[in-house]
Structures are given as C-alpha cells and as structure tokens.
Amino acid sequence: MHVSQLSLTDFRSYESADIDLAAGVSAFIGPNGQGKTNLVEAIDYVATHSSHRVATDQPLVRAGAARSIVRTTVLRADRQAVIELEINPGGANRARLNRGAVVRTREVLGVLRTVMFSPHDLELVKGDPGGRRRFLDALLVQRLPRFAAVRSDYDRALRQRNSLLKSAGGRAVGRGSEAAMATLDVWDAQLARAGAELLAGRLELVADLAPHVTSNYADVAQATPRADGGNEAALAYTAVIPLPRAGVDRTALADALLAEMARMRTAELDRGVSLVGPHRDDLLLTLGAMPARGYASHGESWSFALALRLAAFELLRADGDDPVLILDDVFAELDDLRRDRLASVVAKTEQVLVTAAVAADVPADLVTHHYAVREGLVSRG
C-alpha cells in the first residue's frame, strides 16, 4: 500500500498543507525544526491513532487552533481509500472514510498500516515496560483492528476497578462490606474477561514475532559474532500471572487472572490500585543469557531496537501488503553495517518516507523523490 496524498489543517506547525506522494522512496530534507517529523507523524497517526512522540493529542494541534484535520489518500492494490481524522484534544476524535458519514475512529483502523523507525526506538530496549506494552498493543491493533475495542474495554474496566478499590479500601468502615465486595467481584469479572482477551492477543503476537526478532538481530548485528554463540536475541512475554505452558485458552487465562486477583485482594485494597493484569506485564528482551535492558551495549541496544521494528514490518508484510515504512531521522544514528541492512529493506518496500536534516544522511542511490522542507513549506525538488 502507499499514501498518494496528504492534507493537513492545523496539525503541529502546519496551518494547511497539501502534499502529493508516490510509491518509492521519498526523502524529506531540511534544517532542524522545519516540520519534517510533523509530516510523517501525521501519516503514522492516521494508521495508529497515536503519536510516537507524545502520549496526549494536545501537542498535535497547532498552537491557537481548536482541532486538527489530517486527510490521507491510501492506495491498496489500486483501490483507493480516503481517511480523514479530526483530532479534538478536548473531546472525541472523529473519522470519515471515503468522504462518507462520520464513523467511529476505530472503524478506520487497519486501512492504512505504517511501521515507523525513530530515535525514540532505543527506549524500547532501555526504557520502562510501558513503552514495550505500547509497542505490542500498537502492533496488535494494526494487525487485528478489533483489538482496539478490546484495549479500550480493558482500559475502562481498569479505571472503574481502580476507582472502586480506592473508595472501598479508603473507607475504613465500609471496607470489606458485603455490597462493596460484591461490586468488586463484578469488576474482577469484567477486568478478567477483557484482560484475558488482550493477554491472548499479545501472547499470540509475541509467538509470531519472536522468530523474526531473532533472525533480524542476527542479521543487523552480524559484525559482532561471539565465540560462545551467547548473543542470540530472544523475546518473551512476562506476565504477573503464571502463564499456561502451551496454547492461549481465553477461559484459562481469565480464570488465572481471577485467581491472582483473589490472592492479591488485600494488597489491592491497601494500595487502591489493580496489581494484576496485562497493564503490569512486560516484554523481556534477552541477548544470550542476559536481559538486554541494563546489560546490552549501546550498539547492541540499537540493533535490538532495529530488529524489533524490522520484525514488526515483516509480520505486517506477511499479510500480503507492504505497510508504509517511515524512517524518521534514523540513518544518521546508524553505523555502516546497520545502514546497509536497513537500506536493503527500503529498496524492496512499496513506499518509504525518510526524514533527515541533511541529504548526506540518506543513502543517495535509494531515493526516488526529493522534498525540501523549510519553514513549513514542502516543495518537490
């Protein structure tokens, strides 16, 4: 698939912009702070409904404006789809598909797929579990858009339950009262149901992703083979509940979640938060026998981050259509070997969008379309 048209209204630094795009490799070149990342961020937002830079939507709206509109035309196997997203930080976002009636934003997920590489990816390896959970869930939703609803049900059940734990635990007299506990039982069930669904999705995803991570890491990091062979990259999902050894039976997962909640109930009431569920899980990245986080060198960490993104790309591509590959400022961060590895993927992908401050940062023979970005003006060169 590829994006053939991008229109922005009040998105980030852009008051308005209309840009024609094409299949092939497009490079957006310009000095710092001119609006290169803003462009690719907009396209990625249409695909994922989130930004790789910020957790809230407010910074995406141009200072002084109330909302932004991002419109993309997507071509898939010669079929055209126009997705329009209205970003309203004060309220609910709205979406429109093919200029029809407004639909729930969830309903346009999956039409456009992107995989973005950026300097922030290092956080996947070095940072907190939250970043790795976001990586997994975003990929899960791109692959199977119905998980957007699962994710939002889970988040809502979690907020409801936390709210109940806070009030039930805090009220010394009411604590443990039959009514409060009966209501808590009900929210346990809601959280366990949505949690088991999310957990099953993540487990299946990790099982599919893991071999791609291992092979891509070996490929990207081949400059440093180790005699003991102890630097194979691996991926494992770590949950707060004991995981069934084989298979992902949703009923068994829900039961396991309920059992753990029962065991932790006193602690949860004391703390006033839910301590059990996929919101507390992590993705364990290992190199040989050691965890990557805290042990891997800077270069190894970069290779791992690249391997995770490359694996995500391969997984989505395996569904039959190339996702749009976005490389935000990454070539400058890489040594020659990793650059070459990335370049070989770029050369075989339907559409790649690359940003860089200077043209020399992008392998010149790769680029098919050049754009200059200066003070919010995008011109074809």
Binding site: Q160, S167, A179, A180, A182, T183, W187, A189, Q190, A194
Partner: protein, 195 residues
C-alpha cells in the same frame, strides 16, 4: 445575564459551550410569547411529571401509563437503565411485560454503586413470586454488562428465569440508539444467563 443563560444551557447533557451560545442568542432574538411558552412547558413538566412509584419510569400520575395498563403481562419484568430505554423498547412493540428503571448503571468512576440504583426496589417487587422472568436490558457496554452481572448474581437465588438480550446490539453503545428491528430481534432471541 446573558452569560448566566449560556452557563445554564451549557450544563444540559449534549450541549457544548458553542451550542449553548447559539441557543442563548437564538432565544434572545425569539418572539417573547414563544419564550414564555417554552418556560411554561419547562415549569409544567417539572411540576406534573414525576417518577412512577412502582417502576421508576417517568409518569404523570403516581404510577406510569405502563404500570396502570391492565393488559400488560405481570409475569415478565424488563430491567433498563433509564426511562429513555423504555421508550426505545416500547417502539419495537415486542415486549408486553412491565419495566423496572434502575436510574443508571454501576460506575465507580461516577460514584454509582448498587445503593445508588433502584436495586432494593427491584428486589421488593420480586418478593411475591408474581414475576417469573427478568430480562436484563442494560446497555451493551462495560458498565451495562457489569450491572447485568451484578443483578444476575443477586437474582439467581430467587429461582427466576433471568435472561439477557441477544447479542447483535451495537457493542459499546447505548440501547436507545439501537434501531427498532435490531432491538426487537434482540428481545426475541434473548437467552438465559448462567452467570
């Protein structure tokens, strides 16, 4: 003065600041007799309309129209969140029993637990064994499901038939927005709940 009006209008559900402003200025430019009539109707509903002592639905007398209707089936009770859900279900003409309006759904975020809903009144209505089936028609969203689960657990020991509307309703939505055909079908295809 005008700002007071805008503020009051803005407190209404579904009316944002922009709409509040638009309505306020519309009222200012409207004929005084029209405004007086609107004010009259507002005062009148507030004086005359109350909540049915039996089911909690809106009523103009002590009991609502449905509770007073002798043709309604007394053995089936349909539990809904709001009076507007009664209107939506009545439109389908599928249901001939009576209602019980809870006044919302369990939502700890909003401070709504079982005690804030008309659940005690429901249990009292079921005490004399007239009702043999309870249909749980709370919204097909997280809070509605939680409420239905809570009620199921309360009702199970009473030995009644407890049913839930068939799936097919737009998930995550409001009952009132479901179209008549879909809602009618959900009634016909209702199933006993085990949990």
């Amino acid at each position: 003065m005008v700002q007071d009006l805008i503020d009051e209008l803005g407190r209404l559900p579904g009316v944002g600041p922009k709409s509040a402003q638009r309505i306020a200025f519309h009222l200012l430019s409207t004929d005084p007799t029209d405004v007086r009539r609107l004010a009259g109707v507002l005062m009148e509903v507030k004086d005359r309309v109350r909540f049915c002592v039996t089911c909690g639905n809106v009523a103009e007398e002590e009991q609502c129209r449905i509770c007073r209707d002798p043709r309604r089936d007394l053995t089936v009770l349909c539990v809904v969140e709001e009076s507007k859900d009664v209107i939506a279900i009545e439109r389908t003409r599928e249901f001939r029993g009576r209602y019980h309006v809870l006044g919302g759904a369990i939502s700890p975020i909003e401070g709504i637990g079982p005690d804030e809903l008309r659940i005690r009144e429901l249990m009292q209505r079921l005490a004399d064994d007239t009702v043999t089936e309870v249909i749980l028609a709370t919204d097909p969203n997280l809070e509605g499901e939680a409420t239905a689960t809570y009620l199921t657990r309360m009702l199970r020991p009473l030995g009644l038939r407890v049913t839930r509307l068939a799936s097919g309703l737009p998930v995550g939505g409001d009952l009132e927005y479901a179209d008549e055909v879909t809602l009618g079908r959900a009634f016909e295809g209702r199933r006993s709940v085990d949990d």
